[in-house]
């Protein structure tokens, strides 16, 4: 009987902790939402990082392609 009670108490504790953790996460997300922290992170951190990445990315120069390429040759390569 005691064993069963212990098990029940343990389960309740785990449940309580899970609910508590979810509540904290929910409150945290609401704070992010309300204070527009997602926007601030994206604007001040993510976008400048991505911009730098794309500005410095090595790209093929499409202008170097001859204008009179033949489509069928492209298909053969595939």
């Amino acid at each position: 009987m005691k064993k069963k009670e212990k098990k029940q108490n343990k389960a309740l504790k785990v449940l309580g902790k899970t609910v508590g953790a979810l509540a904290v996460a929910y409150a945290g997300l609401f704070t992010v939402f309300y204070l527009d922290l997602d926007g601030k992170l994206l604007y001040y951190v993510v976008e400048p990082f991505m911009q730098k990445r794309f500005d410095n990315m090595e790209r093929r120069d499409p202008m170097s392609m001859p204008y009179d390429q033949i489509d069928s040759e492209y298909m053969k390569r595939k």
């Binding site: 997300l29 309300y34 997602d38 926007g39 994206l42 976008e47 990445r53 489509d71």
Partner: protein, 544 residues
């Protein structure tokens, strides 16, 4: 340092504060402009809309859509986690994706500012539909992109097309994906984050092209010049829609892509019945080309089925227009209405449109039954005409919040205004041709004077008392009719505000300039005072 003012605290009305907390502030007291951080368009904090609507926005819009921006990737990848990997690769490779994708929720914010109750809910569903359709296209592109290790088998069964080629042309092909080349990289990104498109416009001009042609064509060409297009297709279909400027884009695309291309020209002056058969033959040619390139046989029954599904979307749209025209209970704001309509009628039938329509219809029916006035601060019912500024599609939301200008309908929503017959192959093809001729900017803007002047009948039909006349300063076609419109506005005694803009390029006419023009008209001509003076002037020059 600011000293704490005890007197101010004593003056606070606790009852009013509690009411504002619970229900949100009434329209005239919101001061939405005070929420912005100067230049950025970011919020000091997001708007408090009362407990019910704030929690709805947080749970059912913000959390829900952020969540679905991940789950949709899996859904459209058929549950394969490799889809997520491809998605991340694409995000890190393409500027239009990497800089834009995560800013989507701020696009929602801008367009849904000040919205409450049913209007907030229904408009947000329209946006959710658009985002889902965008994710479908993005996932399909990246899963096929052979430069990112995509699936070559899927690559083979894909047709790319100009965004102005109606997706219905490809309805009859099972297992063939049709993906517009520019709809996501150009059109959608301008709305979510207009920073990226400027790179592409500059790339086209760096080539030596002059700065004054249509910036849409410049940007679409610039994406290719910057080598920023995924390789997801073996062949493509192009068109001269919306105008012949688009042909110049196709020439550059053809050069850069170097794959089999089917050009599907559509007539400008489409009233002549003799051109319809020609146009139908072009569509038939595109169908045959798709068969040859993908090796998949055209299925007439499938085409019929998809067109019937699309006709259902059109009937839903007519019901929405009926409510918008004849009641005060239409629950979608101007920008939500316009973007949803242009997206689904151009790209074509998808399940997500039907799901969205079902949800919106439920809300709309409730509004009509209970006679809910969905935009209670409406002072003027506005029809927006010609093509809109992509970098400031949220002007409708601003104009309602600031001045009570409620945009009921706009020109591009009215273009594909027809059902397509499926009783015989011949009739079907002719209707498909007509549908294609009635494309955005083609049907009214370059289809002939009688069509651009459909404004007058639509103004009456939708019970509008004011026109927001878009003036795309780089559109040579529309520049030619400015004087004719001015004469008509005077003769008909219609209040019309000319809104200059440069489609995707905010550097030519800024959003602040657009607002100033509207403000000036409302003060000086209409003699009205703003509902929310905090929105008259603010600096959002560097915002998304």
């Amino acid at each position: 340092m600011k000293r704490f003012d005890l007197k101010k605290l004593k003056d606070l009305d606790a009852k009013k504060l509690a009411k504002d907390f619970w229900y949100g502030k009434p329209h005239g007291e919101r001061r939405l402009g005070d929420l912005y951080i100067p230049k950025t368009g970011l919020y000091k904090h997001r708007e408090w809309r009362g407990v019910k609507d704030t929690m709805y926005y947080f749970n059912n819009i913000w959390l829900y859509n952020y969540g679905h921006m991940v789950t949709d990737i899996l859904k459209y990848s058929g549950g394969n986690p490799k889809g997520l990997v491809q998605f991340v690769k694409g995000t890190m490779r393409y500027r239009w994706m990497g800089q834009t994708y995560l800013t989507v929720m701020h696009w929602f914010d801008r367009c849904l500012e000040g919205m409450r109750d049913e209007t907030l809910r229904a408009t947000a569903w329209h946006f959710r539909g658009i985002v889902s359709a965008c994710l479908y296209q993005i996932v399909e592109m990246f899963n096929r992109d052979i430069t990112l290790g995509g699936d070559p088998e899927k690559w083979r069964k894909t047709i790319a097309h100009d965004e102005t080629v109606w997706g219905g042309v490809f309805y009859g092909f099972p297992d063939v994906a049709h993906i517009p080349l520019q709809m996501i990289p150009y059109f959608v990104t301008c709305h979510c984050n207009n920073h990226t498109v400027l790179n592409y416009i500059d790339a086209a001009q760096a080539l030596g092209l002059p700065g004054d042609p249509c910036p849409m064509c410049q940007a679409e060409a610039g994406i290719f010049l910057q080598d920023d297009v995924p390789d997801f297709f073996p062949a493509l279909v192009t068109t001269n829609e919306a105008c012949d400027g688009s042909v110049a884009t196709s020439v550059i695309q053809d050069w850069m892509i170097n794959k089999p291309l089917f050009a599907m020209p559509q007539p400008m002056q489409f009233d002549d019945d003799s051109v319809l058969e020609n146009c139908a033959k072009e569509i038939e040619g595109a169908i045959k080309f798709t068969e040859e390139m993908t090796g998949v046989k055209f299925d007439w029954e499938l085409l019929k089925k998809k067109l019937q599904d699309q006709n259902e979307l059109q009937r839903n749209e007519w019901e929405k227009w009926d409510v918008a025209a004849n009641t005060n209970s239409y629950p979608i704001n101007g920008v939500g209405q316009a973007l949803y309509r242009i997206f689904y009628s151009q790209y074509g039938d998808m399940d997500c449109w039907h799901e969205t329509d079902a949800k919106v219809k439920k809300i709309m029916d409730k509004c009509v039954e209970q006679k809910i006035n969905t935009f209670p601060m409406t002072r003027h019912r506005v029809i927006a005409w010609s093509c809109a500024p992509l970098y400031y599609s949220a002007w409708c939301t601003w104009a309602y919040n600031c001045w009570g200008l409620n945009t009921i309908i706009n020109m591009d929503s009215l273009m594909f205004d027809m059902e397509i017959r499926t009783d015989s192959y011949e009739n079907c093809l002719l209707d498909m041709a007509k549908y294609h001729e009635w494309a955005p900017m083609r049907r009214m803007a370059v289809g002939g004077l009688q069509h651009i002047f459909e404004l007058w009948e639509n103004m009456e039909k939708f019970n509008c008392d004011m026109v927001m006349m878009y003036d795309q300063i780089k559109c040579k076609g529309m520049q030619g009719v400015v004087g004719l419109f001015e004469d008509e506005f005077r003769a008909r005694n219609i209040h019309a505000i000319w809104m200059p803009h440069a489609l995707p390029d905010k550097r030519d006419v800024s959003r602040a300039e657009i607002r100033k023009i509207i403000n000036d008209y409302m003060f000086t001509v209409m003699g009205e005072e703003p509902l929310d003076p905090s929105l008259l002037e603010f600096d959002d020059s560097n915002s998304w």
